[in-house]
């Protein structure tokens, strides 16, 4: 969606009438009604629009906790919606990993380690055999 942006009116003041006479004003009324449905009053909508026109961004002047929460919430929802389907696919494809496998992985030792520990254990057993000979 997204309507084609036409040339912005050069009028400094644009009055809003109950009965709009052009498509642009009609669109504005629709946007206002939608935003009011989302919890914003007319003053907030107007202030946002004027500041935005002046180069400010919503994050800069959204100073109430409610507005911040709503903005953050919408962003989080957007991210979750976009990636949740990918995540579920990934989880389905991931191999099963249980405790037995975990222990097997931890206990795998290299040939080097095995060789060294064999020598160490022989050394330990020779200390016991020296005692037995007494």
């Amino acid at each position: 969606m997204g309507r084609k942006k036409g040339k912005v009116s050069q009028a400094k003041i644009k009055s809003i009438r109950l009965n709009p006479i052009n498509a642009e004003e009609s669109d504005v009324l629709k946007i206002v009604n939608r935003l009011r449905g989302e919890g914003y009053n007319f003053k907030q909508i107007a202030v946002d629009a004027i500041l935005y026109r002046d180069g400010a961004t919503p994050e800069m002047y959204s100073d109430t906790e409610d507005n911040k929460d709503k903005h953050l919430k919408s962003l989080m929802l957007e991210v979750l919606e976009e990636y949740s389907s990918n995540l579920s696919v990934y989880l389905k494809q991931a191999p099963e990993f249980d405790q037995a496998q975990k222990e097997e992985v931890e206990q795998k030792i290299s040939g080097f380690t095995r060789s060294f520990m064999d020598g160490l254990r022989q050394r330990q057993s020779s200390s016991n055999s020296l005692t037995e000979e007494d």
């Binding site: 206990q107 080097f112 380690t113």
Partner: protein, 345 residues
């Protein structure tokens, strides 16, 4: 609790890896106290200061504080492997490693290192430590039940520190994997060696000890220093061992606010030990039979620079990168071996 212990002849080192305590050390000195001496120390406070403790009802003092009570030469090597000496020292280390009052007995798995020449006494070391220890110290009353004792040769602990990770896995880039290494552990009383071939194969016949160590170096250094600066040391008692070691390495002895140049004295003091260690290398086959020499133990840190200067045709590698931590290389290595040995077969 897992306790790693290296009761060297100069310093006692311990480490409790799972508790995050250590590695720490104390001077190797122990004296049994009379009840009268104990009461004098405890006085009205009621809490023993650090180093003072009762072990199974008998009062002892351990570490620096013990120096003023020692009247006889302390036993060395395997002569210490009895419950009244090695056992008490291990109990002290358990108390320090736990560090707080205990309401119920704590089970301990002890991993202890020894010099290769003491291998036939390893079972005595085990018996000395494997019992219940009831302790009264600065942390209050504690009870430890030593269930298992595992003993390992010290040079092998130093090698393990260099090639294994903390969890006991081989280092991903193990620099010794394909090399023949001579391990030298220069301690206070002995210099121990072991040859390890590529793939970690230990030459079991090469693991042994020589009666050469840093104790004589420290004594010689202190004597020469006192002669050169007799006025400064006139009223000084025994010098702190760690201060002396620092002076030997740095060439400067800090006495109060004075810095005494002692580079020449240090070099002359360690010259004999360096010569003796080179003889150990020669008797092990000489540098032509090795890819590198791994140094472990605190004594190696003292002679490292002189050794490199004397034998520049082979690489001398320190088991611990931080030279001030070299005295802990063996306990750190034994901790890694403990991880491997503790895995289920």
């Amino acid at each position: 609790m897992r306790l790693i212990l290296d009761a060297g002849n100069a310093l006692v080192k311990w480490y409790a890896p799972r508790s995050g305590i250590g590695p720490k050390s104390c001077l190797h000195a122990l004296a049994e106290l009379s009840d009268y001496q104990w009461e004098n120390v405890i006085g009205r406070i009621g809490t023993p200061p650090n180093g003072y403790m009762k072990v199974n009802g008998t009062p002892y003092v351990i570490g620096r504080a013990a120096k003023e009570y020692q009247t006889l030469d302390k036993p060395k090597g395997a002569a210490r492997y009895n419950k009244a000496y090695y056992g008490v020292i291990s109990a002290y280390c358990m108390a320090q490693a736990y560090g707080k009052k205990i309401d119920a007995p704590i089970s301990v798995n002890l991993f202890a290192s020894y010099a290769p020449q003491d291998i036939q006494y390893a079972p005595e070391l085990t018996k000395a430590a494997q019992r219940t220890w009831k302790i009264e110290c600065e942390y209050g009353k504690m009870e430890f039940d030593v269930k298992d004792v595992v003993t390992v040769d010290e040079p092998l602990c130093g090698y393990a520190h260099y090639v294994f990770t903390e969890t006991g896995s081989e280092r991903v880039t193990n620099p010794f994997k394909e090399k023949t290494i001579l391990v030298l552990d220069v301690g206070g009383y002995t210099t121990d060696k072991a040859r390890v071939y590529p793939n970690g194969e230990i030459d079991l016949l090469s693991v042994d000890s020589r009666r050469i160590g840093t104790n004589e170096v420290l004594a010689s250094f202190e004597k020469k220093l006192r002669v050169k600066h007799s006025k400064i040391f006139q009223d000084t008692g025994d010098l702190d061992i760690e201060r002396v070691e620092k002076a030997i390495v740095s060439g400067v002895y800090r006495a109060g606010n004075q810095e005494l140049d002692c580079q020449d004295i240090a070099q002359r003091s360690i010259k004999n030990l360096v010569h003796d260690v080179i003889q150990v290398i020669k008797s092990a086959g000489g540098i032509a039979n090795y890819d590198a020499i791994l140094l472990t133990g605190g004594g190696s840190a003292l002679i490292y620079n002189e050794l490199k200067a004397s034998l520049d045709s082979i690489d001398f590698i320190l088991a611990e990168d931080n030279i001030s931590m070299m005295k802990y290389a063996n306990v750190l290595g034994l901790s890694k071996l403990a991880s491997i040995l503790s895995r289920k077969e």
